[in-house]
Amino acid sequence: MITPEQTKLTLGFIPLTDSAPLIVAKNMGFFEQWGLDVKLQKQNSWSTLRDKLHAGLLDAAQMLAPMPLASSLGLRCTPTKVITPLVLSLNGNAITLSEKLHQEVLKDNGISEVTLPLAAYLLQKVISVRKQQNRPKLKFGTVFPYSCHYYQLKDWLASANITELDVDIMVVPPVNMVGFLESGEIDGCCVGGPWNAKAVRAGIGLTALTSFDIWQDSPEKVLGLLESWQRNNPTTVLALTAALKQACNWLESIPNRFEAARLLSAEQYLDASTDVIAPSLIGSCLTHANLPPRAIPSYNQFSKANNGSINVPEYIRGEWLLSQMQKAGQLAGIKVPNDLVKNVFRPDIYQQMRLHLEDIS
């Protein structure tokens, strides 16, 4: 066993279905096993989570996969070296349309029902009808500029040659997404669980497709921490990474997933019913009040995919995320150092952690 330099830690998380590894590690005693006394601190916005991590108010945090790159590049923040020694999850997002937009899609295309996953070209008609009638552009919500949600939404729209000239995309915090869909403030959104299921259960939306229908097995959330903190507390980081890896492994079993849903539903975490948390965890995508759910076995992935471990922060994953940021125009005029990905994605720490994990298993 190892002896962490710092044992009391505060971790930040945003209440989402894929914060499961942190909540499982806490509740199943994995942190404790590694000598860590962890406090999970719920955060309300990605920007504040980032600022608190940069400021050292949080020791580590669950982050959107592109965020450590954005922090290191200083995109809308002071450049701060953030690293990731562990990928926490793959997939997990979905695109949900408001019931009003769903009806427009049916009417403008002259169809009586949609086929899922929904093809984006069905929106073309809606866009042109709205234009003819001088009605406002379609508005989509996404959770953060540097998020896979944003890139996935853009990619899906681009599959039908729809760009940000045709629709508006705005940032909406996950917690407000369903309310915005209902009030008509947005017509659709790309968001993680449990928000899509919440919209469907409330009868206010159609989940048109999941992020797995757009990109297969892309990193979604990662463990982020300051490089300087890792240098001062290398053993703590190994212990933290090992405990979270154990939680990810624990989440591999479907029966455990349902138990995880129950843990997540607690007030201090997601404060939501298992009715909306459990489906994606057990591979079910709720679609619409009047339609059956779709089976998406890889909806949330925490440990294995295609028989390989998903948790290794491989360079190739970082390069790929960086290319998405580039494609979205977020790196225009930014000097990207050649060794950026190698400095942010740290498989070396992961491999070191594996050795310790093997010691105990």
Binding site: N44, S45, W46, S47, T48, D51, K52, H54, A55, G56, L57, G74, R76, C77, T78, T80, V143, F144, P145, M170, V171, V172, P173, P174, V175, N176, G179, F180, S183, E185
Partner: protein, 205 residues
Amino acid sequence: MRHSVLTNDKEVGTPELRILLIDDDQLRANSLTSALNNSRYKVIHLASPDMALLKQVDDIKPDIIVIDIESPSRDILDSLSTISDYNPKPVVMFSAQEDTNTINQSIASGVSAYVVGDLEPERVKPILDAAVARFREYQKIKTELSDTKQQLASRNTIDQAKRLLMKKKNLSEDEAFKTMRKTAMDTGQKLDDVAKTLISLLDNF
């Protein structure tokens, strides 16, 4: 002749500044509003996060935004700067819980936002004054910077046009410059506009 001066300590002549306050805490909002009575600040309170923030910002056109750092709406505000036609506003974030100095250091230097402690009514006016002043200073520097860049760019254009003239028309540097200046004076154009025209003309031959 003497006029009696009726004004008190209200800031005469300074235009009213509209504050959009985004805060769930109604009591805190009330105390802030009353603390700013009789000042140049007018508070419009928005209990986050139920209403559409962007639309509100659009309608209210606040001069300054004050937001609880724990508000989910912070992400919306944070992304505002990417919207090109959005007019930047000073943003004051407050935090009742955290060590605000440390957070401050982590927020982009020069960004129009900074973090203060809890909004204590007696402290709030100087904080807002400082935020507005700092924001204006930042905007000024930004404008100066873009002016400087502009000047550098036009100097480059003028140089390039001059070199083209020297080469194509076989003129000395002085002659080339004088030709351009004369054209500018004759046509009432700016020197760098003349340079641009020259470049597009001469480059084609």
